[in-house]
């Protein structure tokens, strides 16, 4: 790399910041927790995980972290994904395939609307409009 100008430095910083941002849980207002027990993986949790990452990249969603956890005990509705976000109820989504994962990113994380047809655990029915 040649010597940097002021613009180069700023550009480099922005680029690298994006990449580093993914490591950081600090300042994130949302959490996506994917069940990755054996059952989850068998049901396609890894594909859902990849879809989450990819869609977040594409839509510029940076306020969420993706965590993996073990089996959530809901093996019948795997892959299961819990989403916690400020100003939104905690939600557990069931049967999250790649497509649903992308919808969760766009609707839930970005536009703050629930992906109603995949909600497994209704935390408080009055918040969800059918």
């Amino acid at each position: 790399m040649a010597k940097l100008t002021l613009d180069d430095l700023r550009k480099l910083r922005d680029e690298k910041k994006q990449a580093m941002n993914q490591r950081d849980a600090e300042g994130k207002t949302a959490q996506v927790i994917i069940g990755m027990g054996t059952c989850g993986i068998a049901a396609g949790a890894k594909a859902a995980f990849d879809a989450f990452l990819d869609e977040m990249d594409k839509t510029g969603v940076t306020h969420a972290t993706i965590k993996q956890t073990g089996c959530m005990g809901l093996c019948f509705s795997e892959p299961t994904v819990e989403v916690k976000m400020e100003g939104m109820p905690d939600v557990v989504y069931g049967n999250v395939d790649e497509d649903t994962a992308r919808r969760i990113v766009r609707d839930h994380l970005k536009n703050k609307t629930l992906v109603s047809d995949h909600i497994f655990d209704k935390p408080s029915t009055d918040i969800i409009k059918d």
């Binding site: 580093m20 027990g37 993986i41 990249d57």
Partner: protein
């Protein structure tokens, strides 16, 4: 494609020495073997601070905190956590008090009350990659200084921040820079003091290993502020990892044009070189350090003139400690006001301590000034190891003194420590319990200063030795009542008449322990007793009637001076006993008296 996981592996000196390097290699191999090197990025980091629990591996973004990880654990971590997403439970840190797994790193007792400014990037970035530093706003402060601020603006910001030197004395940094800026000279210098000679201290080393660019950036900012074009980092040769990382960092910064000629296309040029010290404590004293850089023997010279006005090769020189430097970029980025809001009235910001001794969680910690000793020992440090009562904490190393239980709730800053006869010093903090003998501890520090005295002036050379001899006599049960007064008199003379800080502060541990532990001194002198049972010459071991004749003691005695029939009371041959205390620890029947 973005990574799913980041595996942060500590490669600080502490973890390295317990095979973190091998662990890193194994993780790398396992990721490849499992075909997931595209999914998880392996990152080498600096010290996490929690060295006692090392080697440490932290998985992001889920913040799983693995401790005491062995190289052979790599396979399981990759197979379970990375491939299947199931954390390896047996490696996860559990709180000693509750045995619970904290939800995330910030919730670990050790980290909860910490506040990281100086250590902001340690264990967060890979110190060997300049891009990672840049991503964390690195070189943003230099950019701001060069393009948005005049040297006067920068100086004012540093002054307003209230930052004081972290190398020991706490001199206001802005004032120091102001002196150098105010002198006309064809050449000025910036020096980083990375000598770190205090026994038990390793905060500066950790900053240099974990975040070397923060110091380079700060030195360049100071160069711009005072009009210097050349900097030196004086570092002891015993810090090979820090030296390697600094060399790498300097090379990378030069390649990017963040050091060298015409930085970022401006007409400001600044260069940094390393100078290795042989590791003499006195070379940390600023005038001795400068002499050493000049290639002379490292001996202090009288001040004034201060280095700020007449330093390296007679030119105005700013010399600051590593930790002081590491604060500078943050102050410029976040502003003096922000910095000012942290800490106490007279001491702003945070302080890094190397917490060691009889404490559950030893390690490197950073707390806001004004945190109390109780919070440090009991909240962060997890309390006294073995649950014994707290006796004292030694701060400030050989220049400092003891903080006793009655001061547990004193907010720690420069002034309050001074007022109770201790010192901030560079930040060593050694916690002691009732098994520690204060005479013994004091002797240790005095032996250190006597060994490290350069011998140039009589009060330090002769006074230190005399005090040591007196302490040695007291610890051997040959002390006299007048010794206490003698120690005080010599101490006062050394404080007044020594040439440099080494001799001036050498009596501090003595004065402090005499003040707070007078009874312990008296017990040694008048009753020939060491209450902590540490001073060997005053100890005697004997066997009482509790003895059931199990022979355990006789079997451990290294000099075979315990005799007796099985199931009969045993006896110790006092002439042969070397007072090692092994029999005392071994006996399960409280049959051995230690007096």
């Amino acid at each position: 494609m973005a990574y799913k996981n980041y595996i942060m592996v500590c490669t600080g000196t502490g973890c390295e020495s317990s095979k973190a390097g091998q662990l890193y290699e194994n993780l790398n191999a396992e990721l490849k073997a499992a075909g997931v090197e595209e999914e998880a990025q392996l990152v080498k980091t600096g010290c996490f601070g929690f060295c006692e629990q090392g080697p440490i591996v932290k998985i992001l973004p889920d913040e799983t905190f693995y401790v005491k990880v062995k190289p052979e654990d790599a396979k399981e971590i990759v197979a379970e956590h990375i491939v299947k997403g199931r954390p390896v439970d047996r490696l996860i840190y559990k709180e000693p008090s509750s045995d619970k797994t904290p939800v995330d790193t910030d919730n670990i007792g050790f980290y909860r009350k910490q506040f990281r400014i100086v250590l902001r990037n340690c264990a967060v970035i890979n110190p060997e990659i300049i891009d990672e530093y840049i991503a964390r706003d690195g070189y943003g402060a230099l950019e701001k200084a060069l393009f948005e601020m005049s040297p006067d603006d920068v100086l004012q910001e540093i002054k307003d921040s209230g930052l004081r030197g972290r190398g020991g004395a706490g001199f206001p940094t802005g004032t120091k820079w102001g002196f150098t800026k105010g002198v006309e000279a064809d050449q000025k210098y910036i020096v980083c003091n990375a000598d770190e000679g205090d026994p038990g201290a390793y905060m500066d080393r950790s900053v240099l290993e974990g975040d070397p660019h923060s110091v380079l950036e700060a030195m360049a900012i100071a160069g711009y502020t005072v009009g210097a074009s050349k900097g030196f980092i004086y570092i002891r040769a015993e810090y090979p990892l820090a030296i390697d990382r600094l060399n790498l960092a300097i090379a990378q910064a030069k390649e990017y044009g963040l050091l060298g000629d015409n930085i970022l296309g401006t007409d400001f040029s600044f260069d940094i070189e390393l100078r290795l010290g042989a590791g003499a404590f006195v070379c940390g004293e600023e005038t001795a350090l400068l002499a050493s850089i000049e290639g002379k023997r490292g001996m202090p010279i009288p001040r004034p003139p201060f280095p700020a006005v007449k330093g390296l090769w007679g030119k105005p020189t700013v010399i600051n400690n590593v930790e002081t430097w590491a604060n500078i970029p943050v102050i410029l980025l976040k502003g003096a006001k922000w910095f000012n809001s942290i800490g106490t009235e007279t001491s702003k910001g945070t302080k890094v301590f190397a917490l060691t001794g009889k404490i559950n969680n030893s390690g490197l910690i950073e707390v806001p000034m004004g945190t109390t000793l109780r919070e440090i020992i009991f909240d962060i440090g997890g309390g006294i190891a073995g649950g014994k009562p707290f006796k004292a904490a030694q701060t400030g190393g050989p220049s400092g003194g003891c903080i006793t239980p009655q001061f547990l709730d004193t907010p720690i800053d420069y002034e309050s420590l001074m007022s109770i006869g201790s010192m901030m010093g560079s930040g060593g903090m050694i916690v002691m319990d009732e098994d520690d003998c204060m005479i013994d501890v004091t002797k240790f520090y005095l032996e250190f200063t006597v060994d490290e005295s350069c011998g140039k002036c009589a009060p330090c050379r002769i006074g230190g030795r005399t005090c040591y001899n007196i302490l040695d006599r007291i610890s051997k049960g040959k002390g006299e009542v007048e010794d206490l007064q003698k120690l005080k008199d010599i101490g006062h003379a050394m404080r007044k008449a020594s040439l440099c800080g080494l001799g001036q502060t050498a009596p501090n541990p003595v004065m402090s322990t005499m003040k707070y532990f007078e009874d312990e001194y008296k017990a040694h002198i008048e009753d020939n007793k060491c209450p902590a049972g540490k001073c060997k010459d005053m100890l005697s071991f004997s066997i009482n009637d509790n003895c059931v004749g199990c022979t355990a003691c006789a079997r451990v005695c290294p000099v075979s001076c315990i005799s007796g029939e099985v199931k009969q009371k045993h006896v110790i041959d006092q002439d042969k006993c070397i007072k090692c205390g092994q029999c005392f620890t071994k006996c399960k029947f409280e049959a051995i008296d230690r007096a």
